[in-house]
Every structure is written in structure tokens, then in C-alpha cells.
Symmetry: C2
Subunit: 286 residues, 2 copies
């Protein structure tokens, strides 16, 4: 397995693969890999001839005062995991390689990036779409995989791919969870043992709303209220949002009639945790 | 020669060419081709195996009240010219093909797009970089050519290519001029015969500044003043800008010490005309 630290070296291998008409798969990560990341690698592996995993903690998607400095890193362990899951290459660039001093270009998806996580992290998705564009171009991938845990991110990237005419297939893989239901996340490493116990309240809240819908409740306001009540049973949680939105437009809804996203973000100690559940609704013809 | 009106059809040919490892060249245009465009086609033709010319009057690069409605068009004539210059394909999409109703994504180069033409056309270059990204992706070109007449545009596109890691080579071809020196432009068709006579004052002004520099004048303020005087000898001209800027950063300069751009934009009747001259300066080591 090769490790590339700069774009030109990566490109030289990638161009050789393209010349042989090999299909390139790509898994973008910020490193500190957990089982969820490895499931992405396993899912895409059979769909490509060459597989590249990137590890890059992208400063452009962190806002002022966010956790870029303490974001967890462990390259040696990541390298072993990636090799064990049979990727062909790791792209592991330095910040200066990706964003030299005279860097000026941004890719932005309007509307979808302004709601949910975009409300409290206004430059976050612009950073994501910018780095993902760069990584798509550097890897020349034909297929890329993203996790459903970052549902809004995945939706925005799919919109960008369609809008900018990238010829890239996207796979979305289900969220992997700990035994109690907590969504796997590198940021769970911020939690103390005691916080870790409380963290599952976000998933419990989403699950509560899903159950209510399954039992016939279609009023989004009531589901929001019940999610909030569920989270507030647990002490010292700050709610960023607990939302019921259209799963395609991410716009707030009143009544559940179409595919719907239950999504939440909470603060717990130093960790901001997100999670979501999609409610698939059979569309009713008017 | 093939004419493609939608991206999927173009992509299917392009992917077949890529499979054969053919090198794809690309000339983006807004149509109503003049000798300058055809010189771009001739220049890139020997550098590629397959050559695509696009014709698309891009609404995203026109501001409110600008000339998109009356922008000149003549597809049949363009088609004949392009065929005569041996391109392999024309990409001629409708607006709805490029920007469906649910279109949300923009590519923006900060700094370079805020000065010169960007001052009076604040969304112009965002529209250019967005459409050029889409066209680069739709054509999968390996090399593209731009004219020096749109110097700022060419600089911004080169910055975007570098920043976003597009693996695309750029050629910049010299501005072609009419006999009296007026830069060729599709917008010259807006000029009445009488306006056409006066239009050359922009080139005369740039030339006057270039001559002054050649004779030892290095103060940008004086060159600006002289360009303005030159243009103002002609009646009923509105000056948008007449500038002396660093040719790489486009920032205003006081003394000419490095590669410098003399650039201007004027209004004459219904036409906004631009032109520029580059002064190559041997860098002096401190």
C-alpha cells in the first residue's frame, strides 16, 4: 500500500491507473478511523479496481473556536487499519499541500448548506464541498462513499456532483452504532465515561420520534417536542437542534407526507454530536 | 462533426475517447465566433486528439440589467466556422440543461474576482468559474484555451485550476485586433459605424501608457492619468476603469517594477468594451 503526501505524486499513480481504464474508488476521512469508516472501505472495495483512502483534517470546515486543534489523530493506527482492509493507497496531505498561502477558491452549495448543522456552523459545508472537490480531482475517483451519519453532508455532496457535472457515483452507507445505539464518531473520544453514558440520549430521542411516527403520529411539531423532552431528561446537555425536515430539501415540515429526516445535534461537554434517522414514506399520489 | 445538446450524450462520447487514452482539447465560447475564437481553435488543435468547442451564453455571468437578452447569436454560422477549423464536436446546451430549477452550486475565486471588471460586475466571475468548472467536467478536457483579451478571466481560471487540483493544462492566446487596433469581440457588433470609429480609443489609451513606460515612465498614477486623457479626447465615452495593476495579483500599484497589466473597460453606446496590454518587466533582485 502506497502513502502519498503530495498531489503530484498521487496524480502520477492515478493517471497510470486511468490509462489502464481501472475504476478508482475513494473514501474521504479525517482519520482516527473507527468501525464505521472501515465499513465504508469494505462496502466500496468490491466496486472498484483501485481504492484510495484520504486522511485529512480539513481546516476549512472548522469554524473559529471549533475543535480542529484537539481533533483526534493517530496516523499509525489508521494506516494499519486501512492496510488490513486492503486499500491500495492512502492520501495523507499536509495542510500546506492542500491550501498553500495563495489559495483562493471555494465551492459552495446554496440552500442545503444553510440549515441544520449549517446554522451553527455557517462556513462548515463550504469547507466540506471545497475539500471534497479537491480530493475528487486529486484522486480522479469514479466512485466515492460517504456515511449516512453525516446525512446533510452526503446530500450536499450529491447536489454538488449533479450541479457541477462530476462523473462520480456516490454510495451512502448506514450509520454504524455502538451497542446502546450511539452513532460511531471520532468525536466520541472527547467523552468521559460518564458523558459517554449520557450521549445515547440523542439516538433515544430520534428513535422515540421514529416510534411515534410508526404508531401513526404525523405532526412534526409533536415529534420535535417529544425529542426535546427525551434529551432534556438527561442533565447538562445543550441542544443545537432537533429537527424534522424534508429528506430531500432539508426544509422544516409540518406534516410527514414524504421521505423525512429526523436529525439532531447536541453538545455534551467538549463534544458536539450529531445523528439522524430517515423515515421512508410511500409517496401518496394526489 | 457531432453536435451535443445534453451532457449525458457528450459524456458518452468523451468516456469512449478517454478509454482510448485520447487527449481532449476544449475551447469554451459564448458563440457568435470571430477570428479571435477561430485562432483559439487553430492554436489548440495540434495539441489534442479530440477537440470540443462549446457554445453557451451563460446566464450566471450576466448581472441584472446586463446584455444577455441582446447578446449576439448565430449558431448556423458558428457551426460552419467550427467545422471548417476541424473541431470534432460542438457542445451546445440549453440553459435548462446547464442550470435546472434545482441548481445550487457555485465556484468562486476570492480576491482576484473582486477587482477590475469584478467591481462593476460583482457576480460575473463567479458565473464564469461555475460554468467553466461544469464545462471542464462535462468535456473531461486535458487542455483548454482562453484569450488574453479576457486577461482577468484567464488568470482567475488558472487560479481555480490550481486551487481545485483540476488536471488541465491552460493555453492563453494573444488578443486578435482589427486593423486599427480594436480588440476583436462579439460585443463589437453592438457598435454603430460611427461608434466603431471611436471604440479604438481604448486600445490607443493602453498603447499610450505602454509607450510612456517604454520611454522610462514608471509611475502608475501618471499612466492612469494619460490613459484617461486619451480616452476623454473622444466624445460620449463612459470609463468603467483604466488601471495599472500587478499582472499576477491584479492589485493596484504605484511604481512599475514587476510584470504589469494595463487594463481598461469603457462604455460606448450599448457596448461595454474591455482590453488590456501586459508589460513584461525583468524582475530586479533586491
Amino acid at each position: 500500500m502506497d502513502i502519498y503526501r503530495n498531489i503530484n505524486e498521487l496524480r502520477s499513480s492515478v493517471n497510470a491507473w486511468k490509462k489502464q481504464n481501472l475504476r478508482i474508488g475513494f473514501v474521504p476521512t479525517m482519520g482516527f478511523l473507527h468501525t464505521g469508516h472501515l465499513a465504508l472501505i469494505d462496502a466500496i472495495k468490491p466496486k472498484c479496481d483501485k481504492l484510495i483512502v484520504s486522511i485529512f483534517v480539513n481546516p476549512k470546515q472548522f469554524g473559529p473556536g471549533e475543535d480542529i486543534e484537539r481533533y483526534p489523530r493517530n496516523f499509525e493506527r489508521d494506516q494499519q487499519s486501512i492496510e488490513a482492509h486492503h486499500a491500495d493507497a492512502i492520501f495523507y496531505p499536509a495542510v500546506e499541500e492542500m491550501y498553500p498561502d495563495d489559495y483562493y477558491t471555494y465551492v459552495q452549495v446554496e440552500e442545503l448548506g444553510a440549515v441544520l448543522c449549517g446554522r451553527s456552523r455557517p462556513t462548515h459545508f463550504r469547507g466540506v464541498t471545497t475539500v471534497v472537490t479537491k480530493l475528487f480531482m486529486a484522486t480522479k475517483c469514479d466512485i466515492a462513499v460517504f456515511g449516512q451519519k453525516d446525512y446533510q453532508q452526503a446530500l450536499i455532496i450529491q447536489q454538488m456532483i449533479k450541479d457541477l457535472n462530476f462523473d462520480i457515483e456516490v454510495m451512502i452507507c448506514p450509520t454504524l452504532r455502538e451497542e446502546d445505539g450511539l452513532a460511531m464518531s471520532s468525536r466520541n473520544s472527547y467523552l468521559s465515561e460518564e458523558e459517554r453514558q449520557r450521549a445515547v440520549c440523542l439516538y433515544r430521542a430520534l428513535k422515540r420520534a421514529e416510534d411515534l411516527y410508526a404508531n401513526g403520529e404525523k405532526h412534526a411539531a409533536l415529534l420535535r417536542e417529544e425529542m426535546k423532552n427525551e434529551v432534556l431528561t438527561v442533565p447538562e446537555i445543550r441542544i443545537d437542534y432537533l429537527e424534522v425536515v424534508d429528506a430531500l430539501t432539508l426544509q422544516s415540515i409540518d406534516i410527514i407526507e414524504r421521505k423525512t429526516l429526523l436529525a439532531g445535534a447536541i453538545w455534551l461537554g467538549k463534544a458536539r454530536l450529531i445523528d439522524n434517522i430517515v423515515i421512508d414514506v410511500e409517496p401518496i399520489d394526489a
